[in-house]
């Protein structure tokens, strides 16, 4: 029996030691993330997170001994965490707003929001007015748009996502005016929902959509007001529903954070941006 007590005691002691060893230094204790010089925490936009993750991996292999953690969670979280010091850098998939002047943005790339339908849906182009009519429930059937006789399944994003904010800003709708049938969180979930339903319509990051189309997802990007939703049109600015992907920070960049931001914005990450179907900034 004593053995059991010893084992439990040993586990507890081990845990205590590990905890103490890995505790942040007192001066940094107020912010769990800002604990060591060789590690960096990024949180925020689920659109930016995969790209930042790839850049982080490349940075780590080029700088052994460093560690860069990338968490998703949305632009709102990126901003909140950067402000509270929970993260060194926030990832934000939109331009900073007027009330966010305390933050500095470091643009990484551009991205557009594309309207997606199932690959079997014949609709190829939508006007802004049609889009609004669909999302407010005015058009409940694809027939109203010259499509099949089938009810439209409106896939919409949950409150707080930057994609939603951009969509609402473009359409001029209030979220309470929309009549969704499915509410989703991340981009990929939107693609999954539309891919599984021939009558669904949704909106996701064009980069993500192109990536998944290339990987065989049965969805199609619909042109908006006659402009095809593609990376080229996002780059040249002709596509109306586009945005900039940013890293943001509350304090002036120092040390590892500055080094990482410089690395991320340099030519050497261009292939990573393209691999995620985002649009590199003009060189």
């Amino acid at each position: 029996m004593q053995r059991l007590i010893w084992v439990i005691g040993a586990i507890a002691a081990l845990a205590a030691v590990t905890v103490l060893n890995s505790m942040p230094a007192p001066e940094a204790a107020s912010t769990g993330a800002a604990r060591a010089q060789h590690s960096l925490v990024l949180t925020g936009s689920s659109t930016v997170a995969p790209l930042a993750g790839e850049i982080a991996k490349r940075y780590e292999s080029a700088h052994p001994g460093t560690r860069i953690d990338v968490h998703g969670g949305g632009s709102g979280r990126g901003i909140a965490d950067a402000r509270q010091g929970l993260a060194h850098l926030g990832m934000v998939s939109r331009d900073l707003k007027a009330g966010e002047g305390d933050l500095t943005a470091y643009p990484l790339a551009r991205d557009g929001i594309g309207i997606i339908v199932h690959a079997a849906n014949p609709i190829a182009n939508l006007s802004k007015a049609q889009l609004i009519a669909i999302y407010t429930g005015e058009f409940g059937n694809w027939q109203a748009l010259g499509g099949r006789d089938a009810p439209i399944t409106v896939v919409h994003k949950a409150e707080g996502r930057s994609t939603l904010e951009l969509f609402l800003a473009y359409t001029g709708l209030k979220n309470s005016e929309t009549r969704p049938r499915v509410v989703i969180g991340d981009n990929e979930q939107g693609i999954k929902s539309v891919a599984a339903n021939p009558n669904a319509i949704g909106y996701v990051s064009i980069g993500t959509a192109e990536y998944d189309i290339a990987h065989g997802a049965p969805i199609r990007l619909v042109a908006l007001d006659g402009v095809a939703a593609s990376s080229e049109h996002v780059r040249d600015g002709s596509y109306p529903l586009a945005r900039t992907l940013n890293l943001v920070s509350a304090a002036p960049l120092r040390g590892l954070a500055r080094d990482f931001v410089e690395f991320a914005r340099a030519e050497q990450t261009r292939d990573l941006i393209l691999a995620q179907y985002f649009v590199p900034l003009a060189q």
Partner: protein, 284 residues
């Protein structure tokens, strides 16, 4: 009532009971069969040890398994001593209805029913933000510990209560101190219950998703300390199936691994408690 009537009703009832049993079994076979069938291909050493690539569409679950085990270790290291101590106090050291014991008991009753997402919210505010642990395995493990504590205490207490009263009287007659009586007699006798509780807790913690999203985070790489974020296996399944198109295939693999882990844990607990209960007291 004529026997004939009973007979026909009995037949109908038997048919009902059997069909319910068949329905349940069929649902079970459908579910597990689907997961085993589509997940079996991924049950390889490579899958278990490799790091995930391309957001989990390729590669394996190695670092995720490590994170999961670390989460469990933190959870048990905190919950076991705390749970054992509380159970001892409740079962051996207090009169059933002192106000203190009653309050603790009632509190634990309610705690046992609190949904895991609420534990997650609590962990997010308390461990992640107030204690400044950040999104870390430590914060996740501590949240899990709070969650499994009532289970653990209940099982420990049941184990202690199953020890015959005569043992305690014998200890008292021998002039043993309470501490000695605990160490020499009561705890060994209660081991099956303790183990059952620990295993139950591990099972619950292993299956948990909602309590971990906002405490241990999403990072799918090998953690280098307990203050690093780590992705639990269940969160990996959630992420693959919800957020990664083309992630379903590997989600099946991860789901199968998780189910097998739980199966092994349950089987071990059954085996252990059988073994321990065989004459453990006599041999000490």
């Amino acid at each position: 009532m004529p026997a004939r009537n009973y007979l026909s009703r009995d037949t109908a009832a038997a048919a009902l009971v059997w069909s319910a049993a068949v329905v349940v079994a069929a649902l079970f076979v459908w579910l597990t069969g689907d997961i085993v069938w589509r997940g079996a291909a991924y049950l390889t050493w490579d899958f278990l040890t490799a790091a995930p690539q391309d957001a989990g569409r390729a590669g394996g679950i190695g670092p995720i398994l490590v994170s999961t085990l670390l989460l469990l270790a933190v959870c048990l290291a905190v919950a076991l001593p705390l749970g054992l101590g509380t159970a001892l106090l409740l079962a051996e050291f207090t009169v059933e209805d002192t106000a203190f014991a009653r309050a603790v008991r009632r509190s634990l009753d309610i705690l046992a029913g609190i949904p895991s997402i609420v534990f997650g919210l609590f962990g997010y505010v308390f461990f992640v933000q107030v204690l400044g642990l950040g999104f870390s395995i430590l914060a996740g493990g501590l949240t899990l510990a709070c969650m499994v504590l009532p289970l653990l205490i209940r099982a420990c207490e049941a184990g202690l209560r199953a020890v015959p009263h005569e043992y305690r009287q014998a200890c008292a007659a021998l002039g043993l101190s309470r501490g000695a009586a605990l160490r020499r007699v009561l705890l060994p006798a209660a081991v099956p219950g303790l183990l059952a509780g620990a295993v139950l807790g591990v099972g619950r913690a292993l299956a948990e998703t909602a309590a971990l999203i906002y405490t241990s985070g999403y990072v799918d790489r090998l953690p280098s300390s307990l203050l690093d974020s780590g992705r639990a296996l269940s969160i990996h399944i959630f992420d693959l199936s919800m957020n990664v198109p083309g992630g379903d295939r590997l989600a099946y693999g991860a789901a199968l691994v998780l189910m097998l882990l739980l199966l092994i844990i349950n089987a071990t607990s059954a085996w252990l408690s059988r073994r321990w209960s065989q004459g453990r007291i006599v041999s000490v």
